[in-house]
Symmetry: C2
Subunit: 322 residues, 2 copies
């Protein structure tokens, strides 16, 4: 029996594949390699527990054909669906991006699971489903759900389709609402953006927005620990969980200062004037984690520690790449 | 300047078109005539304020072409998007139905509005976005939103896309979460179902479920009053409103008895054993209407009165049709 990971060549997918294969699971990884890279899977290349197939989950027939043979030999009993657009501003400019890569991937994963009678789905959702709740800290039951970006909208649309599928044919479903997740291999996000900006112009770091946006950050290793804890500890048929750090978060200003300190200590930081970086960015954001804590889980690193560690990892990654 | 109504040949669409044209507005009505019928628009046939074009909003290019010329001559300043699948069980069986007719219609309406710079959208959402909240009465901020049917899921997905569009390019958006709406021309729903079952077998009425499902009902005339009140009274950029009757609702048992009394007084009523009629049906349901009341609106008919009136209208309709 085996586990299917979609978006396996992306940041979180490749880390999850490592974890599952290290634990002895058979893993089938699927990715369309539009944003993820085979380089991210180098570690798994000769691992007998890991199989990779290139396919686009947004194309139902091709996706089904890509996994059918494997499924016959080693039945897939669980899907971890991580494939999605990860470029939020791109999806604001063109709604088709998140429609296809974030929503239709989920819709087709559900269709294929129904067809192949695969019982369990774990889904990478996002804090972006909540929209802007101001100073209020957000629990899984918080409403209204009014996402600001098409990315958040198509994550919420995906959750909705999964909810109906859990009522209709899935045996279990796990919906993880991710915070900002950091670590390596970094493919996008504020840390990589700042590190690369400083590589190009070591004397100045231009920051989108006024630097007051404050969010919590979770290291990818903690994220995976948290997901597995929920997978094994939650009892709900449809388990919806916030995953995040248990603190008030870090401002973009503090992150900029930390990256400058680690990468280019003499650089000057120049801020914009808006309190959000782009359309669809949520200026302030804090989770309530009571549900997670009831399962006995807290992250090993708080937002500050996660950022310090991830900055070091990303600087190392970019040196290696160069 | 004009108003576009999608799904204009359906139950609520044709009633809304009557109202707008009666008020002197220019109305462009679009429908793919898959469930709606031209018969529902007979009243508007020679009305100079009304134009009908057959088009499927789920096909973006064809939809755009169908409205572009009209828009050049009489700019559309507002879209009332009612086109959707209305057969909830059909969408549970085949998720493609609500994907195409309920979600992709909304997605394409938004794309076309962006392209033509149409500023205002009013959307027919549904209580089905909430899922099952048990005995709790539901306000617009209630969470979690875990729909039980693909219909509810694709209405929630539509709301999510509208929310992101309101952040990005719409000037105003109105999201109306409909309850059970009744009246004529009835195209589906429990009343028409019961009336037609009694026409076929006047001695017995078989009811799906045990009859304990209890919901509120709103007459279509009240629904339209309520929507227009919100349209003119609400001040939010993205206005989300529950629309419903201000009572505890009517059970299916009471509805069955009322239909039998009006249509076939000697019929025996036979109940099923489940407390829901089909996958995705919510057994009990009650709205909080505080937001609506703040705008000074309450329906003229409560659930019981609406049902009595609608039964009479539907019996008349079915006699006329026969």
């Amino acid at each position: 029996m085996s586990i299917l990971i979609t978006g396996v060549a992306g940041f979180i997918g490749c880390n999850l594949a490592k974890r599952f294969t290290d634990e002895g699971h058979q893993v089938l990884g699927v990715d369309n390699l539009s944003r993820g890279t085979l380089n991210n899977l180098a570690y798994l290349q000769n691992n007998p527990n890991f199989t990779f197939v290139k396919a686009d989950c947004a194309e139902r027939v091709g996706f089904l054909e890509a996994i059918e043979n494997f499924h016959k030999q080693s039945p897939i009993i669980e899907v971890w669906h991580l494939a999605a657009n990860s470029d939020i501003p791109a999806g604001v400019t063109d709604a088709q991006v998140d429609l296809k890569d974030t929503f239709m991937t989920t819709f087709n994963v559900l269709e294929v699971m129904k067809q192949l009678a695969i019982p369990v789905l774990a889904f990478a959702s996002s804090s972006a489903v909540y929209g802007d709740h101001g100073e209020q800290s957000i629990s899984e039951d918080s409403g209204p759900l009014l996402p600001l970006s098409n990315y958040g909208a198509m994550k919420l649309a995906s959750e909705a389709a999964i909810s109906a599928a859990a009522e209709s044919f899935l045996a279990r479903a796990f919906v993880y609402r991710f915070p900002n997740v950091i670590g390596v291999p970094a493919t996008h996000g504020v840390l990589l953006d700042f590190v690369n900006k400083l590589k190009t112009s070591p004397d100045e770091l231009k920051v989108l927005g006024d630097g007051t946006q404050q969010k919590t950050y979770l290291h990818v290793d903690d994220l995976i620990d948290g997901m597995l804890q929920v997978r094994h500890g939650a009892t709900e048929k449809l388990a919806v969980y916030n995953l995040g750090a248990d603190d008030t978060g870090m401002s973009v200003r503090h992150i900029a200062e930390a990256v400058v300190a680690a990468a280019s200590p003499n650089a000057q930081i120049v801020y914009g004037i808006e309190n959000r970086g782009w359309v669809g960015d949520v200026p302030k954001f804090q989770y309530r984690l009571d549900k997670l804590k009831k399962l006995g889980w807290t992250p090993k690193l708080d937002s500050r520690q996660a950022i310090v560690r991830a900055i070091a990892e990303i600087i190392q990654q970019e040196i290696t790449r160069a």
